[in-house]
Amino acid sequence: MKKRLGIIFLFALLFGAFITIWNKSYHQGLEEAYIPIKKDNIINELPSESKVFTRSKHALNYAEMPVDAKYQRSLITYYNNRAYPGAPPSIPHEILQDGIVGGNSCLKCHENGGFVIKYNAYTPVTPHPEMTNCRQCHVESRTKTLFKGNSFYKKTPPKVGINNALLGSPPMIPHALQMRENCLSCHAGSSAPKEIRVSHPERVNCRQCHVPKDKEIKDLDLFTRAN
């Protein structure tokens, strides 16, 4: 009798343990199914003007970079590749794989530049490498002919050498800055058009001396007093 009671007690114990463990694991299973809702992390944004410093870590390299006179770009070729000053340039070369854009393809060359034997030129550096859907704005030109003739007036691009207010004072910025706030990408390095290559890329804080000239604002008059 004692033996039987002992066995029943043992089974009861085992059963109790099973119930507890099963219950616990069942509840854990339920918990696992629950994904806690995270509070929206506020994206730590940066002011758009901060891009002036974007390539500054390369500033010293830029200063030491030799000028490869044979392969340098000029402002004429620079603007010829744009429909109007400020328009996104078109892609003047064929594209490796039509399906791929951005980080896997264009940025391989256009993030940091470098010489490409195939095109006998230095790769221009993009001022906005964070935007990777490149071909949203930049397209190839596959034909030289037009569907119909067009008389679009292409504005003359801003000239070099006339943007300073005083003799020898730092020139003002004659172009719009939206998406082009990263000065060094176009104004320094081997791919910079020779007319606008800066002699002092190591200065970094460009807008300490160079301020925009044609800020898009309604009132471009001289400062007028209210009374």
Partner: protein, 775 residues
């Protein structure tokens, strides 16, 4: 045919040079030879380059102004100046353009029946003198006041002080440096007993870390920031930006740490807590050179008229100080400062590491603070506890806003309580001033009267019946102009304004005196690193424009004080400077003689035995140290600097349900203070044509405000309508807005609060509560 042979030889020499240059260029692309650069300078560049300091900001860059046919036509950085080494900022390069502004004040204007009448300058000065004399006769000496500037030259400040305190005998003299540097002064005096930084700009060349406290140097002290960026790129020096708002400086720095406004007090104490409790205290330095003090707390905010406060310092022990710091563990402080514990410990570890050289920089963020003096004390605490002070690359450095806030306002002492040497409350100092000024010493009153804010309150109350402002534009720069503008318009006060251009202040004047600008007069400025710089007049001012110093002298003469001002019109700047130098004779503050200042781009005082003293209080560099130890803080009687126990206290006004945003005001790189000069420079105006209010994108989204849309900033005092700026130049934190104050058409100071630091009396322009409404 001798000439032809020499010509031919010189031609051959040129050929030889050209071939050598070509050879050099093939080996070193981009090589530059001076000759080659000069050939690109246009033929008409046959300019006469004249040396001087820049007109804008306290950095004190050396400039060279190109003059052709009596007109200033170009500006370049002075390569021989150790401050800027040839570099300037956009304001510096274009500064001379403002003098050609079409609305220049060229003649005196006297208000008659509500309109201004062009008046010969002599008649206008007669009127000013007789009005001043009459007012003193009817209402006493303390009914007249003068309000000058940290942009006044040393001679201008000196004659103003001599005129008010020595000749008339009133302490009703204060200046706009009260609005920018007073807390720095009070901080220096309470901690070291001697005003102005101990280090110099050469610290930048050897520091490993630059920690900027609420200071957007990329825009406000751009040339110094360039020097820091250069060290960052070349030597891998680190810049850490500790601020309430993301700015250009933050994005150019290695690390940006944001804190909740006013909690800098707590974070600084938390850094001290870490230093003390991690054994990073430089014990031998602290024992030899420091005392511990505490002062009064819960001082109030000076919001009521005639507010008075006097601190009562008492000595404490290191143990008591350590116990006080228990309230400022990083964990406790992190909760309300919104700075992570990790970041607090990171900052403390930099200061605490004996192998790292650290310079702290600050300017308005710490000075324009209702606890500005405390905040200055607290940063000194950090440097004193670690012994990182007065050594090349190690030290606290209080930057200045105005070009001569140090040279004029602080050294000459154009504050109500100051004399060129010492303070009015000290009899010895009064006797010294009286002796040099040759006036009876009883004439200099021993009690200070009005500081800037209180001075304009007194105008509003009708206690001051005559005020003369020079080189400043208080009705744009004072806090709470919504009260002080109507105050100045009252009939009870006769207002004289000396200025170069019409301003909202000159709009309320009874007499407007036409002043010459910077390069149209000779003068001296003193910059942040104690460097005194001299310049000679470069061009003639238009019409009847006159130097401010000379106008003060003329009025003094008309009031019968001619014998105290025996200077000549042609040479008064030099005569005044030589008289003024007598005040500072001695190893602790000797000023360089004029010949030296004329021959080089300035000299740093104490100028002893023909040498500038770059690091004060350090026996290795400073001949005034005479206690036989390595450091001597000789400003204090016992030669020891003070580590102050200063707690955290909340701001005078914090956001609440009704006014949920912090309002922070400040500057932009393109504009100088109230914009009266820079807005008249076409390049700068085109770049930033009007003010704006910066909002965090989240806040803008919540209120459905788009970039450029007009919004109304409203406080308990007034309101201002401005276009919104979302994610452009700067980025305030959520719950904060930022407005540049340069725009007289969008008067943000109608909205600000006139609470001030009870010790320094400097208003807090960085913190008040506002609400934002779509306009």
């Amino acid at each position: 045919m001798y000439t032809s042979i020499t010509n031919r030889r010189s031609f051959i020499k040129k050929m030889a040079l050209a071939s050598a240059m070509t050879a050099a260029a093939t080996m070193f692309p981009g090589i530059i030879f001076a000759d080659e650069q000069e050939k690109n300078i246009p033929k008409d560049a046959d300019l006469d380059w004249k040396k001087g300091p820049c007109r804008f900001c306290g950095v004190g860059c050396g400039i060279l102004v190109g003059v052709e046919n009596g007109k200033a036509v170009a500006v370049k950085g002075d390569p021989s100046s150790s401050v800027n080494k040839g570099l300037l900022c956009v304001k510096g390069y274009h500064q001379i353009m403002c003098i050609a502004s079409k609305d220049r004040l060229t003649h005196a204007l006297v208000k008659k029946n509500g309109s201004y009448v062009k008046t010969p300058i002599n008649d206008a000065l007669d009127l000013v003198a007789s009005k001043m004399k009459q007012t003193i006769k009817n209402h006493g000496k303390d009914s007249v006041a003068m309000y000058t500037s940290g942009q006044s030259t040393i001679p201008e400040g000196y004659v103003a002080s001599k005129f008010m305190k020595g000749a008339i005998g009133t302490n009703n003299l204060d200046c706009n440096a009260r609005l920018c540097m007073a807390s720095a002064v009070a901080g220096f005096l309470t901690t070291f007993g001697a005003d102005e930084p101990m280090g110099c700009y050469e610290d930048i060349d050897s520091a490993d870390y630059f920690i900027t406290w609420g200071n957007n140097m990329a825009e406000m002290h751009p040339v110094l920031f360039s020097r820091m960026l250069e060290q960052k790129n070349r030597r891998d020096a680190k810049i850490i930006d500790f601020a309430t708002r993301t700015t250009r400086s933050s994005t150019a720095s290695n690390k940006s740490i944001l804190f909740e406004p006013q909690t800098d007090l707590a974070v600084a104490n938390a850094i001290c807590y870490e230093i003390v409790n991690n054994g990073w205290v430089n014990t031998s330095f602290v024992e030899e050179h420091c005392n511990f003090n505490k002062g009064l707390t819960k001082m109030g905010y000076g919001l009521e008229d005639n507010y008075k406060f006097k601190d009562k310092p008492s000595k404490i022990s290191f143990e008591e100080y350590k116990e006080f710091l228990e309230d400022y563990t990083p964990e406790k402080v992190s909760k309300y400062s919104k700075v992570s514990v990790k970041d607090i410990k990171y900052l403390a570890a930099i200061y605490g590491d004996p192998n790292k050289k650290v310079v702290s920089y600050w300017c308005m963020g710490m000075n324009q603070h209702t606890r500005g003096t405390w905040m200055n004390n607290l940063v000194y605490n950090i440097h004193l506890l670690t012994g990182k002070i007065s050594q090349p690359g190690n030290g606290p450095f209080s930057l200045t806003g105005q070009p001569s806030a140090c040279g004029t306002a602080r050294e000459v002492g154009t504050f109500t309580h100051k004399l060129p040497k010492g303070v009015v409350t000290n009899e010895k100092h009064r006797r010294k001033a009286a002796k040099i000024w040759k006036v009876p010493y009883e004439r200099i009153p021993s009690k200070p009267t009005y500081h800037a804010t209180e001075m304009f309150r007194a105008v509003d109350r009708g206690d001051i019946k005559f005020i003369w402002t020079q080189v400043t534009n208080p009705l744009v720069s004072l806090p709470k102009t919504s009260r002080y503008k109507p105050g100045m318009q009252k009939e009870s006060c006769f207002v004289v304004v000396s200025d170069v251009f019409p301003t909202p202040t000159s709009d309320v004047a009874d007499v407007i005196l036409p002043a010459t600008w910077h390069i149209e007069k000779s003068g001296l400025y003193g910059n942040s690193e104690r460097r005194t710089q001299h310049w000679d007049k470069m061009v003639e001012g238009p019409g009847e424009t006159t130097d401010d110093a000379w106008m003060t002298i003329e009025v003094a003469k008309r009031m019968g004080y001619g014998d105290l001002f025996p200077y000549s019109k042609e040479n008064h700047v030099e005569e005044i400077y030589n008289e003024y130098r007598q005040f500072h004779v001695g190893k602790k503050h000797n000023m360089a003689p004029l010949e030296v200042l004329k021959s080089q781009a300035g000299a740093i005082w104490p100028y002893v035995e023909g040498k500038s003293t770059q690091w004060r209080f350090n026996a290795a560099y400073d001949p005034a140290c005479d206690n036989g130890k390595d450091f001597h803080f000789y400003g204090k009687p016992d030669g020891k600097a003070v580590i102050w126990q200063r707690p955290y206290e909340p701001a005078a006004e914090s956001p609440d349900d009704e006014y949920p945003f912090w309002l922070n005001t400040g500057r932009v790189i393109e504009h100088w203070h109230t914009g009266s000069m820079t807005r008249r420079i076409p390049v700068l105006h085109k770049a930033v044509p009007h003010s704006y209010v910066e909002l965090h994108p989240e806040d803008a989204k919540k209120m459905k405000i788009k970039n450029g849309e007009k919004v109304k900033v409203v406080s308990r005092r007034g309101s201002c309508i401005l276009p919104a700026s979302v994610n452009e130049r700067g980025l305030p934190t959520i719950g904060q807005v930022f407005v540049p104050f340069f725009d007289e058409n969008m008067m943000i100071n109608d909205v600000t609060l006139d609470a001030f630091c009870p010790i320094s009396k400097e208003p807090d322009y960085k913190k008040c509560a506002v609400k934002i409404i779509k306009a």
